[in-house]
């Protein structure tokens, strides 16, 4: 039983600041981890969670502030950091193998020990088979067992359930509880409200690199937690809300894009989305709710179990090329790895997807190219010294505009924008948002994904809310308020506070 909770914090962070290439990832963050607790760490993409974890584990040295550690920390990442081709037992004991009298590794004992140990975690798989043959959940359990075996006092679990089946989630939570009982301190990073409220004692919410809330989880209603994660005060939203366009002139037009029953277990399950020409549909939901996956499914970059995408009533084959030809374009979330071609110039990045249309017999017309590039550089107000500048040298906002231009010059009918304003400065952000409005007004169908609720409420005509890979609600017109969205995301009825408290406490008792 964890009785030493009274002792000082295992980890204490005070006033920590960390900046990467001018971007402030952590801003004056305080964080204290009490011995024996399960501490939820939440926040949207880019809120600073991974940076904080890396500061805690010592991978990053903070620019300012103080970090005090009183224990051995071990991190279990979402992508299990073990060696898939080595046997389960070898992974478990790598570097700590039992020896024979001659100093050789005692494989018999190692395998027996491993089997015995893993039984405690509910794993009965053959420990001599390669780790990679186990299900992801089991692999995660092996990583967990390894961390505990290595005498970790603190285990950090980064999105441990994001790729698990429901049954595996249960087993994992069971093990987490067991570790908790054994006195191990756990930092649990997740966006799944249910899991958080079932097992966590304390919560820390990060937003834009700042700690916006730390405290007991019990006392924090779900809706407030979600609100803290998605940000900004209510007053600010109301002010913004009035500027949202009120016109609703698309009601009578037929949708140009219809996606039906998109399913790719375990990420998304039966998602329906339709967009009419000139309409901006927002995809709301927490990180891991299946937003990006839905967009990738529509563009054909995610293998599907079921589901069909129709453009103007015609089904589109499931590959990127066919989708592009049908008029779908996607601005990927990760600019660096999925967007820009860093060593090519701004010009070449812009025309990349439209090359076949700009060339005759495969030879590119330079004049056509220059004309298009010139048009878009002016129209999107891309700040470059010359179109021949390397795209890697541009600021984030300008890179994003280059990518937007790349898609616009293919003359798409449907534009999927995944976090288009992430990581770009405020001025550029407003410009990109204005541009999206402008494009929709010209008749483009736009799917907008954003972690910022304000951006969605501001920019979208209609919102599809996702939760755990399923559509949790569709909001339109008067329903487009912060409250409604939060309700849909948090999956609870706001005015039914009593039942909320009740469920909440029940779940907590279960966890003990």
């Amino acid at each position: 039983m964890p009785t030493e909770t009274s002792a000082g914090p295992v980890i204490e962070v005070a006033g920590v600041t960390k900046t990467f290439a001018g971007v402030r990832a952590l801003d004056d963050v305080d964080f204290a981890l009490k011995r024996g607790e399960i501490h939820a760490l939440v926040g949207e993409n880019g809120a600073g969670k991974s940076t904080l974890i890396k500061v805690l584990t010592g991978i990053h040295t903070p620019d300012g502030g103080r970090v005090t550690r009183n224990g051995q920390i071990s991190t279990i990442y979402q992508e299990v950091n073990l060696v898939p081709l080595m046997s389960v037992a070898a992974n478990l004991f790598l570097g700590r193998e039992p020896r024979t009298r001659f100093g050789l590794i005692d494989r018999t004992r190692r395998d027996a020990d491993a089997a015995e140990l893993l039984r405690g975690y509910g794993i009965t798989a053959d420990v001599t088979s390669p780790l990679g043959t186990l299900a992801v959940g089991e692999q995660q359990m092996v990583a967990l067992a390894r961390a505990v075996e290595a005498d970790a006092d603190v285990v950090i679990m980064d999105e441990p359930t994001s790729s698990l089946e429901p049954r595996e989630v249960e087993t994992l939570l069971e093990v987490v509880r067991k570790l908790h009982q054994e006195g191990i301190t756990i930092i649990y990073v997740s966006h799944r409200m249910d899991e958080l409220y079932r097992i966590c004692d304390t919560v820390t919410v990060l937003r834009d690199g700042r700690n916006v809330h730390s405290g007991p989880l019990e006392e924090l209603p779900r809706i407030e937690l979600v609100s803290l994660m998605l940000g900004r005060s209510v007053g600010e939203i109301e002010k913004h809300g009035t500027t949202a366009f009120g016109e609703d002139h698309h009601a009578d037009t037929r949708p140009v894009l219809e996606a039906r029953g998109l399913t790719s277990t375990p990420r998304i399950n039966g998602v329906d989305v339709s967009i009419r020409p000139g309409e901006v549909v927002g995809l709301a939901g927490l990180l891991g709710s299946g937003r990006t996956e839905t967009a990738k499914a529509i563009i054909g970059a995610l293998p599907l179990d079921h589901g069909t995408v129709f453009v103007a009533g015609k089904p589109v084959p499931r590959n990127v090329k066919a989708a592009t030809r049908a008029g779908i374009s996607m601005l990927a979330e990760d600019r660096k790895t999925e967007g820009i071609i860093p060593n090519l110039s701004v010009r070449e990045n812009i025309v990349l997807a439209a090359l076949p249309r700009l060339s005759r017999f495969g030879v590119i017309s330079r004049s056509k190219q220059d004309r298009i590039v010139d048009t878009f550089v002016k129209r999107l107000r891309i700040k470059v010294s010359s179109p021949e500048q390397k795209v890697a040298e541009l600021s984030g906002g300008n890179q994003q505009k280059v990518l937007l231009a790349r898609w616009l010059c293919t003359e798409p009918r449907i534009l999927l924008l995944d976090e288009p304003t992430r990581g770009i400065d405020v001025g550029a952000k407003a410009e990109v948002q204005a541009l999206i409005d402008e494009l929709a007004r010209e008749g483009l169908a736009v799917l907008l994904i954003s972690s910022e609720l304000d951006e969605l409420l501001d920019g979208a005509d209609r919102l599809v809310v996702l939760r755990d890979g399923e559509v949790a609600g569709e909001l339109e017109g008067a329903q487009l308020t912060r409250e409604h969205v939060l309700k849909a995301i948090a999956a609870e009825v706001m005015d039914d506070a009593a039942s909320h408290q009740n469920r909440h406490q029940n779940s907590h008792q279960n966890s003990r």
Binding site: I299, A301, V320, K321, A323, T324, R325, M330, A332, T337, E338, G339, I340, I341, P342, N343, L344, E348, L352, A353, L355, P356, L358, S359, G362, V363, I364, R366, R406
Partner: protein, 322 residues
Amino acid sequence: MTLPATKTDTKTATRTAARTRWLQDNGVYVAVVALLLFNAVFTSNFLTLGNFRTQLVQAAPVLIVALGMALVIGTEGVDLSVGAVMALAAAIIPLYLGAGPLLAILMALVAGLTAGAFNGFLVAKVGIQPIVATLALLVGGRGLALVIADGQLVQLHDPAFLALGTDDLLGLPISVLIAALLAIAIAGLTNRTTFGRQLVAIGDNRKAATLAGLPVNRVLVGVYTLCGVLAAISGVLATSRLGASDPADMGLLMELSAITAVVVGGTPLTGGKVRVLGTVFGVILMQLVRATLIKHNLPDSIAQMIQAAIIVAAVYVARERR
């Protein structure tokens, strides 16, 4: 006190980075000029028309292979089978020479095309690492060539075919002329065509290229096929110059020479960039190094060790810092 220090550090770092980049981009040209100057002063009979002719004729087959290799390396790949493909081309020539040199050359090119397309298929469709996929043909290709040729060196007597290796056109050896034309064509292909730009984009960021809807597989197959055809052309020209089909020695270690020339010419092994002019100068540089060493009576052994050092130095300078 720490602040100014950091500033200086950053400045020094930027300066070092700029110098490295300049060296990556222009090192090969500087080296060629320096070597030419050195030879002009210290080597007798170097600045003669005859000598330049010899150097160019010797460099032409390497250049043709290196052009294809540059494209493959631009896609973040490598083709180890080029020497074996040259041997295959050499082995095929005598089989069809009886029916005329045109058919013989055509069949040799078809062999190169098939081999290249096969490599491309393994890389693009099956998803095997390029180094592994092309290794199989490196191991088996020369053996196949020797089986075809029955292990024999065959003297060739067709005058039209031999003219390819010995005659001049417009005052230049035909093989040099062909190499120059191919270099121009590949430069045009790389810089001015859809295929060329797609190739570079795929090598630079394959994920982004896929998401941009580029025909990744088709381009990869195309690149390896082209590399195979160029290797076959090189094999044909080298065979014609030799006056004999010699699959045992034809193109031996050519993959090494070609990769060296490409890398020395400033095309990074990490892909995303194809420097055709740099490759031409890379070939010329390695040829000049060899010629200089020979003219100064340095033995082959020293020449090989110096080449090894140049390769390591060039790759070291060209490597991307992580």
